[in-house]
Amino acid sequence: MQSSRVRDLVVGLFVLAGLAAIAYLSLQIGGLSYKGPRGLELVASFDAVGGLSERAPVRIAGVKVGQVESIVLGDDLRARVTLDLDPRLELSTDTVGSIRTEGLLGDQFIELAPGGEEEILRSGDQLSFTESAINLEKLIGSVVHDARLGDGEEE
């Protein structure tokens, strides 16, 4: 009977360890989060989101404060991005949201720049000011185009 109880204990520990491993994979590595009390949810419309993906970080002054929850095409044919932010944040209504790139070619994220208004954004509000993703190819293209035009004028 003694050995049977030891075996029960070992099997129980094995099952617990396995469940803990599954939980670690799901919660920590998989990023599955308990959607309990909703965070601050803001909506921002962009002309172009570039390579922005769901779960991309949202940062204020470089500090991560939330993530991109969904990206859909809005009725006005602009990209409608929903942000899931820390509920303790008090952002003024003139906060600017812009899509930035980590380094030159890194992953894209959303940078929020708080403004100076007294009023505070509530959950479900829409950001009034946004800056779209910078399209590097377009930028280079326009520079080359300008340079050619400049050459042409000189001749």
Binding site: R7, D8, V10, V11, F14, V15, A17, G18, L19, A21, I22, Y24, L25, S26, Q28, I29, G30, G31, L32, R55, D107
Partner: protein
């Protein structure tokens, strides 16, 4: 059948020397016939296996619940496989990190090491390697044990005592395999991620935070982790079914036991690899 056809060929040959194409045709006919017989046997076997699986499922939902037997079997398949699964996971993770680093560093992308190690482990290597290891470690033993009970007429003895051998012997084994596989696969992946961390961060000097961040950013719960668990569950069911079926249908001889053990490992391994492809193709995991 084949020998009969040979006789016919011989008869024809005895009467008059036949044209060469005719003999070739008879040979071809025999070949096609043999193929047909094999195909029929395969279908028959699959049908029997499906019926056997249905019998296990029926036994599993019928009381008594056989909790003691189940715990015993989980100990045999799960706990005793833990050492080999953990050790393999650790070394696989270490090798992946080493190989991945050597390739990534050429493109200056060694920050993505965590993503490479994590994605390949969670999507493919974790469930598949665990499945193959557990097949070799526990599936073969399962088939051999049931096979031995069949060939020493213990199973018949149980029937005489009005104990359903599928309910008492087979069902707890198959169930234990299905339960242990996802747990072992998750432990394998965690051990491998740790092994990759050891080599990548401690040995090769990738930043620890960057390793884990790239891992966490690359892996999605819905796409990767859920798919990985689905694969492990399917593999567990397959291995449990194949091992118990092969054991239960063992020929009553020592040769029969060895044959059923071998065919368990071969069949279950092939099943795992084919199922892996099908799941990946269907769900894009």
């Amino acid at each position: 059948m084949a020998s009969e056809l040979d006789d016919v060929a011989g008869l024809v040959q005895g009467e008059e020397p036949p044209a060469l194409p005719h003999r070739a045709l008879v040979r071809l006919g025999a070949l096609v016939e043999a193929l047909g017989a094999r195909a029929q046997r395969l279908v028959l076997e699959l049908g029997r296996m499906a019926r056997f699986g249905a019998a296990i499922v029926l036994a599993a939902v019928r009381p008594p619940w056989r909790v003691r037997r189940l715990v015993f079997e989980v100990f045999d398949t799960g706990v005793l496989s833990l050492a080999i699964v953990g050790a393999s996971g650790l070394t696989v993770g270490m090798v992946l990190a080493l190989q991945g680093y050597n390739t990534l560093v050429r493109f200056g992308a060694e920050q993505s090491l965590g993503a490479v190690v994590g994605l390949s482990l969670i999507r493919e290597l974790g469930p598949v390697l665990t499945g193959l290891l557990v097949t070799g470690r526990a599936g073969s033993a399962m088939a051999a044990q049931i096979g031995m009970m069949v060939s020493t007429e213990q199973i018949d003895g149980m029937r005489t005592l009005a104990v359903d051998p599928i309910h008492y012997v087979v069902m707890p084994k198959a169930l234990a395999m299905s339960l242990a596989m996802p747990l072992l696969s998750a432990l394998f992946i965690v051990a491998a991620v740790f092994g990759g961390y050891l080599v990548g961060v401690k040995l090769l000097g990738v930043d620890g935070g960057i390793y884990l961040t790239s891992l966490e950013n690359a892996v999605e719960f819905g796409d990767d982790v859920l798919g990985s668990l689905l694969k492990a569950c399917v593999f567990g069911l397959l291995v449990g079914l194949v091992a118990t079926y092969r054991g239960y249908t063992t020929a009553r001889s020592s040769q029969g036991v060895s044959a059923s053990t071998t065919s368990t490992v071969v069949t279950a391994s092939v099943c795992i690899l084919v199922a892996d492809y099908v799941i990946t193709a269907l769900w894009g995991v």
